[in-house]
């Protein structure tokens, strides 16, 4: 069925890998006492692109009639997760100490957890 292909394990895997790499990068930046740079912003941008792709695919699937059992929660995660990398970068950008990296790392870990929850919610498809 088409729904099974939609929030795909491949995409969730890619989101998880990028998020964990970004979290590690952010943590490393704090450990070595550096500020964040372009690479952090680029990582968060890539993450955001993948999340937008996921949101688009999920929206298309739901428009096609495949609905997770708990649709309101699923949709709130789907939209909420889009805010996280953006808010993380904005909040970290003005921090001029090593702790900006940890802010990025926290945002990235939250994305990883939310992507995993989204996958769980999706698999509990009501149809």
């Amino acid at each position: 069925m088409p729904g099974a292909l939609l929030v795909t394990p491949l995409l969730v895997g890619a989101i998880t890998v990028v998020a964990l790499l970004l979290a590690a990068l952010g943590a490393a930046t704090t450990v070595v006492g550096r500020r964040i740079g372009l690479v952090h912003v680029a990582g968060a941008g890539l993450l955001e692109l993948l999340l937008l792709l996921q949101a688009g695919i999920a929206a298309a699937a739901m428009a096609g009639g495949t609905r997770p059992a708990d649709t309101p929660t699923f949709v709130s995660y789907l939209i909420g997760v889009l805010l996280v990398p953006v808010a993380g970068v904005l909040w970290a950008r003005t921090e001029r100490t090593r702790w900006a990296g940890t802010v990025i790392a926290v945002a990235a870990l939250v994305v990883a957890v939310m992507a995993w929850r989204l996958q769980q919610l999706w698999e509990a498809t009501g149809v």
């Binding site: 309101p72 929660t73 995660y77």
Partner: protein, 151 residues
């Protein structure tokens, strides 16, 4: 606040929202979002199923929002606001955590604070402790220039 004490105000504003405090504000912001979204979904779609649990979700959301704003704004007022919110938060997570384990029937659906925040890797239990620690460590440090210790 900062209008009356411009120099101190600047340092105090920075003190709970820069360095490690900035990370804490980020985590509080995430929880404000998480608890707020959860409460909105629960209250709007199935309030009748577990009114107590869902009202507690809403209370948790308000507490996280107030704590986030208080810590982010800093200054004397911000710190005091954050202190009240974080104290309520600590009491809330302990009381709701205990009740949800002692009387699961009263909490048929999860709240952020159920089982001491188990659904959120127990972050809700650790967060108020870190928050109080930050407020305490910065309470006397308002005059210190930002990042003395944290750079």
């Amino acid at each position: 606040m900062s209008e009356r004490f411009p120099a101190d105000g600047r340092a105090a504003v920075d003190s709970t929202a820069s360095g490690p405090g900035r990370v804490l504000v980020a985590v509080y912001g995430i929880f404000a979002l998480a608890a707020g979204a959860r409460a909105a979904v629960q209250l709007s779609t199935r309030f009748d199923e577990a009114p107590l649990a869902y009202l507690l979700s809403a209370l948790a959301a308000v507490v996280y929002v107030v704590a986030t704003v208080g810590l982010a704004r800093g200054g004397r007022t911000g710190r005091r606001t954050a202190l009240v919110a974080i104290t309520v938060e600590l009491i809330g997570v302990l009381v709701v955590g205990t009740l949800s384990l002692a009387d699961p029937a009263a909490f048929p659906d999860e709240t952020v604070w159920s089982a001491y925040g188990r659904g959120y890797f127990f972050v809700p239990l650790v967060l108020p402790v870190l928050g109080l620690w930050l407020l305490r460590s910065r309470a006397g440090g308002g005059l210190r220039s930002r990042g003395d210790r944290d750079r």
